[in-house]
């Protein structure tokens, strides 16, 4: 889990050099501080947000949106993915519609969702769901289609009925794919939430950034991005932990956790 000390040292070097260069350019006047605020100012703003407690409510709102979008999108994706993968006819019928729906740039839907569901959490969740759904769907579809035929034949010879196959073979096999796409899905859920907030909301990190932009407050915009970056990193750690817990049976994960 923890990177080697040497790697960590390089990582810190990259950070320090980047921030140093940035500070130097702003300080020397080569770059206008209005467009590129000083890193220290941004850090100060972030600290101020946390110190005043202003940020917590916004983080909470975004987190709720992300989790809801992920859970609902994945659940819908799993159900329809299983159905279509196990029913060739349904899969043929719906194939063009799914491809067409997936080709719609989801940002276009955001204003419509705002009209339908209002400025609150729901419209952001809806946007996230449209993004997460297709990832889950395609992964489950793939997972079920690529079940090891020998394992499947063995289960059938051992007496598995349709329901048993679903529970003990298809779902666990699809679970590999769902979990391996967890990271991507969560990323898309975050995009859905933040873009939704950015386009119209009363709270959330996207709202903070959009609000700061409206006031020509570039420090606030950058501070918002920094907070968002940390938010995603924390989510990523959580995802890694969940992944390891659920995928104990998989050889490559075993090797990873031993490292």
């Amino acid at each position: 889990m923890s990177p080697k000390p040497r790697v960590l040292a390089y990582q810190l070097t990259v950070l320090v050099v980047t921030l140093g260069l940035w500070s130097g350019l702003v300080r020397s006047g080569l770059v206008d501080a209005f467009f590129f605020p000083k890193p220290l100012d941004i850090a100060e703003r972030v600290i101020q947000w946390f110190a005043s407690g202003k940020i917590y409510h916004n983080l909470e709102v975004t987190l709720i949106e992300v989790v809801l979008a992920y859970v609902i999108g994945t659940a819908l994706g799993v159900i329809s993915g299983l159905w279509l993968a196990l029913s060739p006819t349904a899969s043929q019928v719906f194939d063009p519609y799914i491809k067409a729906a997936n080709s719609i740039p989801r940002v276009i839907l955001a204003p419509i969702f705002t009209l339908w569901f209002g400025l609150g959490i729901l419209s952001k969740v809806a946007l996230g769901v449209t993004l997460v759904y297709f990832i889950a769907f395609f992964n489950v579809y793939q997972g079920v289609r690529e079940v090891n035929p020998v394992v499947l034949a063995n289960a059938r010879v051992l007496g598995a009925g349709k329901r048993h196959l679903l529970q003990h073979v298809y779902l666990p096999s699809a679970a590999t794919w769902i979990i391996s796409s967890l990271r991507v899905s969560i990323g898309f859920a975050v995009i859905g939430a933040v873009v939704g907030e950015y386009l119209g909301a009363a709270a959330g990190i996207g709202y903070l950034i959009s609000h700061a932009e409206g006031m020509f407050d570039t420090v606030g915009v950058f501070a918002g991005m920094v907070v968002l970056g940390f938010f995603v990193m924390v989510l990523d750690v959580a995802v890694t932990l969940i992944e390891r817990r659920l995928m104990r049976w998989r050889p490559d994960n075993e090797a990873q956790s031993r490292r």
């Binding site: 020998v150 394992v151 034949a153 063995n154 289960a155 059938r156 010879v157 051992l158 007496g159 598995a160 009925g161 048993h164 003990h168 073979v169 666990p172 096999s173 679970a175 590999t176 104990r248 049976w249 998989r250 050889p251 075993e254």
Partner: protein
Amino acid sequence: MAVAAQPAVALHGVSVRFGVHTAVENVDLRVGDGEFVAVVGPTGCGKSTLLNVVSGLMPRFEGSVDVLGRPARGLNAQVGYLFQQDALMPWKTALDNVAIGLVFRGVRLHEARERARPWLDKVGLSRFAEYYPHQLSGGMRKRVALAQVLILSPRIVLMDEPFSALDVQTRQLMENELLRLWQEDRKSVLFITHDLEEAISLSDRTIVFSAGPGARPVGDYPIPLPRPRDVAEVRLTQDFLAIHQEIWHQLRGEVMKTYES
């Protein structure tokens, strides 16, 4: 040994075609009740296809197949199948893999696990109950697979080169283990292999298949070696060598055909 009136498995004129390719053609084959029958033949002669027919996994074939006196129709609870490849569920522990067949047959998971434990003992893996397949060696996985099949006490066990992926030592251990388990309650076994020594040392009767395509039985040899046998020791006896030479003479001809074609 009483010879039962009806054979465990009886194939009459069975042919299987995949498009223009004929895997097996006009096969007549019988496995008596409690008999251990080995089938040897050149690789790729369609021996595995036969097992798929008998197990019910392959419903499209010509001819007739009787299992325990009844025409085979779909999968049969009396038939167990040990596959050549790894067929364990990688997401289940050794114990759960052994227990799963019982669960499929309506036993509650808790009870199925309790009944699976003695079977893990029997194959010498009681310490590995909570291990996942990828944490076990190839030989251990085969033993789990064997327990997985035998716990359901099928009357007929089909085996498709089950030990071909194992190294020689592990293989002999597994063969002895199989004989020991088989000796307990003499199931009918149809054992496919391309290894003649394995066939002779395990079976009551060895059937030689011709080279494919359109493979069919061309030789049928009783193996009158005394039981219980140790597969490593029996290979050194004069009787074994004599039988081996006799069968090999015919098998070699078939193997040569696959090389020439």
